[in-house]
């Protein structure tokens, strides 16, 4: 789906990431972990084509990203940015319907099928009852779920999600994780930023650790996600616990 070739990111004079070369395939779920300001969001914005990399190349579905037509790109890849913006009042359903934009002809009304698809995404995330509500009247966590529903309505085979689970309560976090797990099981590729390594244990096939000084560590969850690596990543000791055959990571 997505290949990075010697990708380097910088912010001002500071080098965030050097020579990142990874391949994200269909049905893989990558979790990006790292400290605040280590370049997680910058990486996602770059992969989404919003920012240019300092060096290197990004290939989307076998074609250089900067040579992929925009509409085509929007059908291949959906990006949930960290901040959701909203200048004008808009209902939840209207927002989720915007996810269908890459599929509509220049001046075409959304079809009943589009509306049904949007409503289905809302229902998956426990938002069906809020479809007619104004976004401004929602809580932060609810708005985050609306953002996720919008990205799902885009039906792209690759999802770039910047902290989709932040601000969500326990039940809705687990529900959203289950929805993402279903997507991955159906062959969607996911690259997702999180601050909780336990999310990785739950759904990720791969993790990408960004150290913020150019170094990175990427690979299958089993190899890369260890207490030692996390301790180094967060510059704070992390312990691994076993419970019912599952691994848990806790700060000490």
């Amino acid at each position: 789906m997505l290949v990075t070739e010697s990708l380097s990111l910088a912010r001002g004079a500071r080098c965030l990431l050097t020579n990142l070369s990874i391949t994200i395939r269909a049905g893989e779920c990558w979790l990006v972990l790292g400290e605040n300001g280590c370049g997680k969001s910058t990486l996602l914005a770059t992969l989404a084509g919003w920012q240019l990399p300092a060096a290197g190349r990004i290939m989307l579905a076998g074609r250089p990203l900067d040579q992929t037509p925009r509409r085509e790109r929007a059908r291949q890849m959906a990006w949930l940015a960290q901040q959701d913006e909203q200048a004008f009042p808009q209902t939840v359903l209207e927002r989720v319907l915007t996810g269908r934009f890459p599929y509509l002809a220049r001046w075409q009304w959304e079809s009943e099928a589009d509306v049904a698809l949007a409503r289905a995404q809302l229902a998956r995330l426990d938002l069906a009852g809020l479809a007619g509500r104004d976004l401004a009247a929602l809580s932060g966590g609810e708005r985050r779920r609306v953002g996720l529903a919008t990205v799902l309505a885009q039906e792209a085979p690759l999802l770039l999600l910047d902290e989709p689970l932040s601000q969500l309560d326990v039940r809705h976090q687990q529900q959203a994780l289950q929805v993402l797990q279903d997507c991955v099981a159906q062959g969607t590729a996911v690259l997702m930023v999180s601050h909780d390594p336990n999310h990785a244990v739950q759904i990720a096939s791969h993790v990408l650790l960004l150290f913020g000084d150019g170094r990175y560590l990427a690979g299958p969850v089993g190899d890369v996600l260890t207490a030692a690596h996390l301790g180094e990543l967060y510059r704070h000791p992390v312990r691994e616990l076993q419970d019912g055959g599952r691994r848990w990571f806790m700060p000490t």
Binding site: A45, A48, G49, W50, Q51, R70, R71, E72, R73, A74, R75, A78, W79, L80, A81, Q83, D84, E85, Q86, A87, F88, P89, Q90, T91, L93, E94, R95, L97, T98, G99, F101, P102, L104, R106, W107, Q108, W109, G132, R133, D134, T150, Q154
Partner: protein
């Protein structure tokens, strides 16, 4: 409270209703004036009928059409500007286009230019500010794209200072005409170019409406959905600025239409620009036409500048609407 999702049926109904109101207002405007002429007299043969036709066709019709066109242009420009700056309180004058037009017009008046020259100078001034904004802010590729707003606002302030300078050095004999131009005045305004321009800009804006709906949400979201954010923003800027320039060149600086009409319609009809853009054009034309009828008749035979009437009556209505909506 957001309005329900826009459906095709409501779209046609609202626009047909507004169009009907505009047509009724046009009839009203043709029938009412400083000399009262029953509309029926136009149909009479003979001298009385001929005189009535002269007044209506040569005096009232051009002014009526100019009011509709200018109101529509200002509301269209305001609506686009609000999307561009993602601020429901932006008005078409905020980015300096009209300031450039006033500097040009006042300068031409000061130099004793004819009406045609004043209009040309206003147009040139507006175009000059558009080019300067583009030149200074066009290379902004930052994520926030804040340079456009700051550049425009700074340029507007500069043009304001230049206009004040021109007013302060103008001889008393010219001052009245200059102030009237600044207040906005439809007497003697040409309607042909304004109406053609309005039609062209409306079609372009209408074609862009679905993309503009997305752009109004946010830049990153627009990018993710496949829009060319940078190019689209400049297309919208140029469209809004040209509509504003044409309106100001035609009838001077008429205030409030461009801010209030799109905003009030937003409250009544919702945010969908597929409906809001054409509805704003019709609403702007309607409101300015009614304001002009009042400007011609309130203190007849004296005529008030339409911009003053617009502000005096439009603002209280708008504030009332805001209260009604906010209270729910």
């Amino acid at each position: 409270m957001a309005a329900e999702r826009l459906q095709r049926g409501r779209f046609g109904l609202v626009l047909a209703g507004l169009l009907l109101l505009v047509l009724l207002a046009i009839l009203l405007s043709l029938a009412i004036g400083s000399s009262s002429l029953p509309l029926g007299e136009v149909l009479h043969s003979g001298e009385a009928g001929q005189a009535a036709r002269d007044v209506i066709i040569n005096l009232r019709l051009p002014r009526t059409l100019a009011a509709v066109a200018v109101g529509g242009l200002l509301a269209l420009a305001g609506c686009l500007q609000q999307v561009l700056l993602r601020n429901p309180l932006a008005d078409p004058y905020i980015l300096g286009t009209s300031g450039g037009a006033s500097v040009g017009a006042l300068l031409a008046m000061l130099l004793g230019g004819s009406v045609l020259l004043v209009n040309l100078a206003a147009g040139a001034g507006a175009l000059a500010t558009i080019l300067i904004v583009f030149w200074l802010a066009g290379s902004d590729h930052s994520a926030t794209q804040a340079r456009l707003l700051l550049t425009g606002v700074a340029l507007a302030a500069f043009c304001g200072a230049l206009s004040s300078l021109l007013l302060s050095i103008a001889p008393d004999g010219l001052l009245r005409g200059m102030v009237f131009w600044l207040l906005g005045d439809l007497s003697g305004a040409g309607w042909q170019l304004a109406l053609i321009g309005l039609a062209v800009f409306l079609v372009l804006g209408f074609l862009l409406a679905p993309a503009l709906n997305i752009l109004g949400i946010g830049l990153q979201h627009s990018h993710s959905l496949g829009l060319n954010v940078h190019t689209l923003r400049w297309v919208v800027y140029v469209l809004a600025a040209l509509a504003c320039a044409l309106a100001v060149t035609t009838a001077g600086m008429i205030g409030f239409v461009g801010l209030i009409v799109p905003h009030a319609l937003r409250l009544l009809l919702g945010q969908d620009l597929r409906l809001l853009l054409p509805a704003s054009v019709l609403g702007g034309g309607l409101v300015l036409l009614l304001a002009d009828v009042l400007a011609r008749t309130l203190l007849a035979p004296q005529q008030l500048p339409v911009g003053v009437v617009m502000g005096l009556l439009g603002v209280p209505v708008f504030l009332w609407l805001l209260q009604q909506k906010g209270g729910r």
